[in-house]
């Protein structure tokens, strides 16, 4: 006699989405570790399309900030990184990533200001040499 398979117990929709979101997040982190920055951003974006205001959306946004701040990313963009870190700070004030996001914003903002100083000085030098 063939035994009967166990009955399928339907998971609640919310739990299913959280599990799926965590899978996307894990994938995003793995892709980042492998240097696939575009893929990592796509996986993070999937998390956001599943969960807008709930955890781990804050982790996904923080992760996207990291991808843009990553020094090896050919599309490294400090301003976009600051934008994502600021979204974590403002959109998820209770998130565990807020403090780290603030540090990143401070560092990247400083870098941008230094860059701005260099640009201004170089422009002045160029003006003088004309």
């Amino acid at each position: 006699m063939i035994p009967e398979p166990p009955p399928v117990i339907a998971e609640p929709q919310e739990a299913l989405e959280h599990r799926e979101a965590n899978e996307y997040l894990n994938a995003a982190q793995n892709l980042l570790a492998r240097g696939d920055y575009e893929g990592s951003l796509r996986e993070s974006q999937k998390v956001l399309s599943l969960l807008k205001d709930q955890s781990p959306a804050d982790t996904a946004i923080f992760h996207m900030g990291l991808v843009y701040a990553h020094p090896k990313n050919p599309k490294k963009d400090n301003k976009r990184a600051i934008f994502f870190f600021n979204r974590v700070i403002k959109g998820y004030p209770d998130s565990a990533w807020v403090e780290q996001a603030k540090i990143w914003v401070g560092v990247l903002d400083g870098v941008e200001k230094l860059k701005q100083v260099d640009l201004e000085i170089e422009e002045r030098k160029r003006d003088r040499s004309r």
Binding site: G110, L114, V117, I121, R124, K125, R128
Partner: protein
């Protein structure tokens, strides 16, 4: 004071030397000015421009590190800031040392603003070190304003120096133009001065030399008056004195010569004439009957006396001519009768030698101004010479024609001719003209020399030519 030629030349060329020195000194002075201006551009203007760039660079670097330090509070950036601060202050100090008043004024303003900038930053440093909240934006604006001001002043320094360099280059161009005009003016003036001076010196030398030359011509014409009055330059004066001395000596010599000719005429001709006359009388039988042998001897004596008288006369004539003491009495006459007379005189000798004589005198021969006796003497000498050298049964041709304002007379013979090297020397006294010894003819060697003197004294020319076949032609021309 009479200046010698040497002194004149030295004194004359001293101003020239002075002018050349003046031109050289002027050129040297202008070159020194060019050098000074060029050096000033290189040493001052270019260095100020260099310092201006260094000041701007070090100040901007200082601003860069100051602003980065304010952002990051990183001490390494502050140390870089201090390094450029030290550079800036060093450059500013060195620039102020070589700057002229205008640039120094601008650099002083730079220094003032820079000190205000430093004071602001020092105050901000106090705030930063105290970790206090402070109006960073206000500090930034103030510092930016001062930065703009300092950089603006440095730009003015650059513009000022560029203008200064431009002005100096223009000054160089103007100075070059002035130097060129000055040099050209001085050179033209020098050349004019040298020309005038040379003319004056040359004139002061030439004038007495010209007087000397004229006096020499007078001496050549036989006027020996010692009347040359030249005292300057001293060298020419001495020459003039020597000339006068020479004239006096020549005059004395001339008198001695005249006395000699007078004496000779008397002392030689008189006894010869006596011998000739005595011999003639003896031949005529005045001294009694003479034997045939005695008559032969007397005839020889008479002929030799005649020959001797002729020789003495020729010698005296030639001497007078050479001494310029022969007197000529010129009057208009036709040469045809003279030729006819000369030919007639020699006819007996021609007939004796069996020579054929031709005469070809052009009709209506113009008259010439001549001393007839002397021209007749020249004709006699030339025809006699031709007959003398023409062998028996030979030919002599005497021709006369008019040739463009002159009368040409030629005597052609069929004698032995003249050696080519003797064609000119044939007219020298005592020159025997037979060429190759085929003819041995006795003669005094004075006839042609006398003929040449006579023709030349008439303003004419005489020459001899050989003929390709045989014989020679003696030709003279006289101006109409």
């Amino acid at each position: 004071m009479r200046l010698s030629l040497f002194s004149r030349l030295i004194l004359g060329y001293l101003p020239v030397f002075g002018l050349v020195m003046a031109v050289s000194l002027y050129a040297l002075r202008e070159l020194q000015r060019f050098d000074d201006i060029t050096q000033s551009i290189l040493d001052r203007d270019n260095r100020i421009l260099d310092y201006e760039k260094k000041l701007a660079d070090s100040f901007l670097s200082q601003v860069r590190y100051e602003r980065k330090f304010v952002i990051t509070k990183d001490q390494a950036l502050f140390r870089e800031f201090l390094k450029f601060k030290s550079d800036f202050e060093g450059h500013l100090r060195e620039a102020l040392e070589i700057a002229d008043s205008n640039v120094a004024e601008l650099l002083s303003l730079v220094k003032q603003d820079y000190e205000r900038y430093q004071q602001l930053f020092d105050k901000e440093m106090v705030q930063i070190k105290g970790h206090r909240e402070y109006p960073q934006g206000w500090y930034t604006r103030e510092k930016n304003q001062l930065t703009d001001k300092i950089l603006g002043l440095l730009e003015k320094v650059e513009a000022e120096r560029q203008q200064g360099t431009y002005n100096k280059v223009r000054e160089l161009a103007d100075a070059g133009g002035r130097a060129r005009e000055g040099a050209v003016t001085i050179t033209i003036a020098s050349l004019a001065f040298i020309l005038i001076l040379s003319l004056l010196i040359a004139r002061s030398i030439n004038k007495p030399i010209s007087v000397l030359k004229n006096k020499t011509r007078e001496i050549a014409k036989g006027r020996f008056e010692a009347d040359l009055r030249l005292s300057s330059p001293p060298e020419i004066g001495e020459l003039a004195a020597a000339f006068n001395f020479m004239c006096r000596k020549l005059s004395e010599l001339d008198k001695v010569k005249s006395d000699f000719f007078a004496s000779m005429s008397h002392e030689l001709r008189t006894p010869l004439t006596s011998i000739k006359e005595g011999t003639g009388l003896l031949l005529e039988g005045v001294g009694g009957a003479t034997t045939e042998k005695q008559r032969k001897l007397l005839t020889i004596l008479a002929e030799e006396s005649n020959r001797l008288i002729g020789l003495v006369n020729s010698l005296l004539d030639l001497s007078k001519m050479e001494a310029g003491m022969m007197n000529y009495s010129f009057e208009k006459a036709s040469l045809a009768p003279l030729i006819k007379k000369a030919v007639g005189e020699i006819t007996p000798l021609i007939e004796a030698k069996g020579i054929q004589l031709e005469t070809e005198v052009a009709e209506r021969l113009p008259t010439v101004k001549v001393d007839s006796e002397r021209i007749l003497q020249a004709l006699r000498n030339l025809i006699g010479n031709a007959v003398k050298f023409t062998p028996k049964a030979g030919r002599v041709k005497v021709a006369a024609r008019s040739v463009t304002g002159k009368i040409e007379v030629s005597v052609r013979d069929t004698g032995p001719g003249i050696a080519p090297e003797n064609l000119k020397a044939i007219f020298d006294k005592f020159h025997q003209g037979n060429s190759n010894g085929a003819f041995s003819v006795n003669g005094t060697g004075l006839g042609l020399a006398i003929a040449k003197h006579i023709i030349v004294s008439h303003g004419g020319e005489i020459w001899a030519e050989n003929h390709p076949d045989r014989g020679s032609t003696f030709t003279f021309v006289l101006p109409c």
